[in-house]
Symmetry: C2
Subunit: 225 residues, 2 copies
């Protein structure tokens, strides 16, 4: 019975890792589509977001089922509650990847990214993808040190977003209003993806160290943007 | 024992209503600060977001405690799980109100809203505040018909955001890049506030009608923005 229960918890963890892997693919494809103007790839990301949503629904159903039938306490209860929260983060990360793809679809066949900001957007894309992948490794290994790295590296993502905003805010910024709006939103989507990756990593830390209740909500997003 | 348990559930519900009321105040003040250039009021909204965060932490701790000590099932379990989710929505709504205030702080003493877009932003502010207040009434009354109204009215908010984007995207848009970036983000913050209000209303509907598992996540945000 106890072994069966631990097995159910393991199923939850694998579900989260699967969601994370789908999010990483969606984000990688969305960035590639955006930077190369690949409309078909963008459409794929938008359509496939449903898979991530379905996986979340399935995982949440399992979590609620475990709460109802097993009445877990202590660490087991914290694990189930954390799963509900991490699945919500991952679902939202899928939405954000789809949003990035939607920016391309809205502007196609026009280029979205001005040449002089291409490398800044590539940096945002790379940093956010690394954050997502590292969060997946944290889920897999429960590696608290790596979780701390995810959190620390999020500062780089915030700085990269600030650089895009600074470029847009310069008095002699050569961008059209349309471009500026798209770039501001894109920078924000990437930064939010990083926030959610940090949130996932933090929840794993709480599970391992028990340092704080799962009720703690990371507040990476209440800063100047 | 049973009465004591129902009392605990009632405490959760009142906690959500209190969070909702703080969010409504924060949003009302943030919009007022934004539209009148009141920096002191904006600072207040930013600082007071901590109260909403603290309330969420407290409410979540209570929820997890109820799961651990009472092992609720069926409707009671759904209520506790829904509380965890609604408190997360409300906490995020507080962040978004603070973000609106941060836009003003960043630009002060410059005006954020160009004269010809003032009424469009006022519309966004009014519609989102109504959505928040109505979500609070839904929490109070469990009125499923009102929840449907909240959901339906969210279309108006989406349309109001689209109008701002259309104004920004016009080829002869007279706005500076700085203004455009702020306006694009503001429109998005208001629209996300509406999405979260819909999410709260929907979760109440699921509790009342049992139509769907709480695991269902509303997807009001995966549309063209």
């Amino acid at each position: 019975m106890r072994a069966a229960f631990q097995n159910e918890l393991q199923v939850l963890r694998e579900g989260l890792m699967e969601m994370n892997s789908l999010v990483a693919t969606a984000l990688e494809d969305a960035s590639k589509a955006l930077l190369t103007g690949d409309l078909a790839l963008a459409e794929q990301v938008i359509v496939r977001d449903q898979e991530i949503d379905d996986l979340q629904a399935e995982l949440d159903e399992k979590s609620v089922d475990i709460l109802a039938t097993q009445s877990p306490v202590a660490t087991d209860l914290r694990t189930v509650v954390a799963t509900l929260r991490m699945s919500a983060s991952l679902e939202r990360m899928g939405d954000l990847a789809a949003h990035i793809a939607l920016v391309l679809r809205r502007r196609h066949p026009n280029e979205v990214i001005p040449a002089d900001l291409k490398s800044a957007i590539e940096t945002l894309a790379d940093l956010s993808l690394n954050a997502v992948k590292d969060a997946g490794k944290v889920l897999d290994t429960y590696d608290v040190a790596l979780a701390a790295v995810v959190e620390e590296r999020d500062n780089n993502l915030d700085r990269a977003m600030d650089e895009v905003y600074a470029a847009l805010s310069a008095d002699d910024a050569p961008y059209s209003v349309k471009e500026s709006v798209d770039l501001a939103l894109l920078a924000r989507f990437y930064e939010r993806l990083g926030d959610h990756a940090v949130s996932v990593a933090r929840r794993v830390v709480f599970l391992v160290t028990g340092d704080a209740l799962d009720s703690h909500t990371p507040h990476t997003d209440v800063t100047e943007f």
